[in-house]
């Protein structure tokens, strides 16, 4: 098991392979559907320092707003990543991201982008909102809360030992492709169709 400190350089990312279990510590940012569209429509200078060398987490959390105006993550598992397929590779390249955390994996355009930019796709356990919220130690700030609402805002968070699995690496490997092909073959066997 590897521990990865954020921000991280390209070298450490290139060492990761499909099947590795990794724990992340440091600063990351959440962003999902509205955020990706927004990030690609222009260069959002305010957000650049939080993206460069770090990872974006596909997550729409449940948050608590405290009386002292601070925020806590109450539940924070990953959302399905494939919806960001049209944007992800460009967001990675434009903002210098080293990784993406989500669930369900992504497609060929993102896989290609991971290879070119030196980044990885990290799979968090879908639905494990309590385990993952406990790894979020602090909410630093939030972007676009008014405009996008709680689930879609970009939350800057400090995490400790945030557990993820590498399912797409920077060498063209994708666990999702492997499983999809193998399960498709098994289906054709079960129903007696030509391979």
């Amino acid at each position: 098991m590897a521990e990865l400190k954020l921000p991280v350089g390209e070298g450490a990312i290139r060492e990761l392979n499909v099947g590795d279990y990794v724990e992340l510590s440091g600063r990351m940012i959440t962003g999902r559907d509205a955020a990706h569209k927004w990030l690609i429509e222009g260069r959002r200078e305010d957000v650049v320092p939080y993206l460069e060398g770090s990872v974006i987490y596909h997550c729409g959390p449940v948050v608590r707003h405290n009386p002292d105006d601070s925020w806590d993550f109450v539940a924070a598992g990953p959302t399905t990543s494939i919806r960001e397929e049209p944007y992800q590779a460009d967001v990675i390249a434009r903002y210098g991201l080293r990784g993406v955390i989500g669930k369900g994996g992504m497609g060929p355009k993102t896989l290609d982008g991971l290879m070119k930019s030196g980044a990885v796709y990290l799979h968090a356990i879908g639905g494990a909102a309590q385990v993952l919220a406990r790894a979020v130690k602090r909410v630093e700030r939030v972007f676009m809360l008014e405009e996008f609402g709680v689930p879609e805002a970009l939350w800057v968070i400090q995490v400790e030992r945030f557990p993820v699995m590498v399912t797409m690496d920077s060498h063209g490997g994708s666990l999702h492709d492997e499983v999809e092909q193998a399960s498709g073959r098994r289906l054709r066997e079960l129903v007696g169709l030509e391979p």
């Binding site: 099947g19 279990y21 509205a34 997550c59 729409g60 959390p61 449940v62 948050v63 608590r64 109450v74 539940a75 924070a76 598992g77 959302t79 399905t80 494939i82 669930k103 369900g104 994996g105 799979h123 356990i125 879908g126 639905g127 494990a128 909102a129 309590q130 385990v131 919220a133 406990r134 996008f148 609402g149 709680v150 689930p151 879609e152 557990p163 699995m165 399912t167 666990l175 999702h176 492997e178 499983v179 999809e180 193998a182 399960s183 498709g184 098994r186 289906l187 079960l190 129903v191 169709l193």
Partner: protein
């Protein structure tokens, strides 16, 4: 019966239970799956994390999953109890549960993109009412997450790609295909609610009703009971595994309902419920006694 305030408070508790406590039969099915997975595999690690998460959520009375879904609610009520009153009380309960963080504000104005902020919106929660002869009100609900809702699907038979005809063998073929299409994106291991027949309105509702059945419930129709068992077994041979990491635990249950159809139509409708199969039910007696059914 209960007062409006009491109905609302009971519904808030119902929602809290649904969001924070995974039913025992579902936890048991995940445990059984965990024992089948290879020691040290990603599949086993995923199921271990899920089981840890289920305990944490219950202990802390916090949502199992941050996507607290759409409340899909089936109500049975006597003639004397107003559906408009029950519907207003449940919607108020959704707002309260959202302010208490049992639910995420999960309703987005589709045209403006603005989150309503309250958890309630046009068509959310979804409620279905049936009048019955009993004096009690029974409310059964699921919290239906969006990731798994996106992999739900509907087939029209015959379907040539899978050589699926208008019979139970055809149903078997398309349901297995739905599991392969879903991969891990619906948060496998999942529970399938299937409706054979019906139309494009009724079939999805029936497939949701099937999700309310406990996993151990055996279909009263022996042919469908056999198909449910076979699809569960074959679904788990597909190797999709927890989260789509590969492995032996792809499905936790398959439940099948039937509606009559038009001569021209033969739909097979599949609702995919994620492993966070959040069901809850309550029965409110004539004298206002509250009985939790899960």
């Amino acid at each position: 019966m209960l007062s409006r305030d009491e109905f609302e408070a009971t519904f808030v508790e119902l929602i809290r239970r649904a969001s924070t406590r995974l039913p025992d039969d579902v936890v048991e099915a995940i445990r059984r799956g965990r024992e089948l997975e290879e020691e040290g595999s990603l599949a086993q690690k995923a199921l271990d994390t899920i089981l840890m998460n289920v305990d944490l959520a219950r202990d802390q009375s916090a949502p199992i999953c941050q996507d607290t879904g759409t409340p899909v609610v089936f109500v049975r009520h006597p003639a004397e109890v107003s559906t408009r009153m029950l519907s207003a009380c449940f919607e108020a309960a959704v707002r309260t549960a959202t302010s208490k963080q049992f639910l995420r504000p999960n309703a987005v104005d589709t045209l403006t993109g603005r989150n309503t902020g309250t958890g309630a919106g046009r068509g959310i929660p979804f409620m279905h009412f049936d009048e019955w002869d009993e004096p009690a009100v029974e409310v059964r609900m699921i919290l239906k997450g969006g990731g798994s809702e996106n992999v739900g699907t509907q087939y029209k038979l015959p379907e040539s790609r899978l050589r699926a005809g208008r019979d139970l063998e055809g149903v078997r073929r398309v349901v297995l295909d739905a599991v392969v299409q879903a991969q891990g994106k619906g948060c496998a291991p999942g529970v399938l609610g299937v409706c054979i027949g019906g139309d494009r309105v009724s079939a999805f509702a029936e497939s949701k009703l099937q999700i309310l059945r406990p996993l151990g419930d055996v279909n009263p129709n022996p042919e469908l009971a056999a198909l449910e068992a076979r699809l569960l077994d074959e679904g788990n041979q597909l190797g999709v595994g927890p989260m789509g990491f590969g492995g032996k635990t792809t499905l936790l249950g398959v439940k099948i309902g039937v509606l009559d159809r038009l001569p021209a139509c033969y739909f097979v409708t599949v609702t995919y419920m994620c492993w966070a199969d959040r069901r809850a039910a309550v029965r409110i007696g004539e004298g206002g006694e509250v009985q939790w059914l899960s």
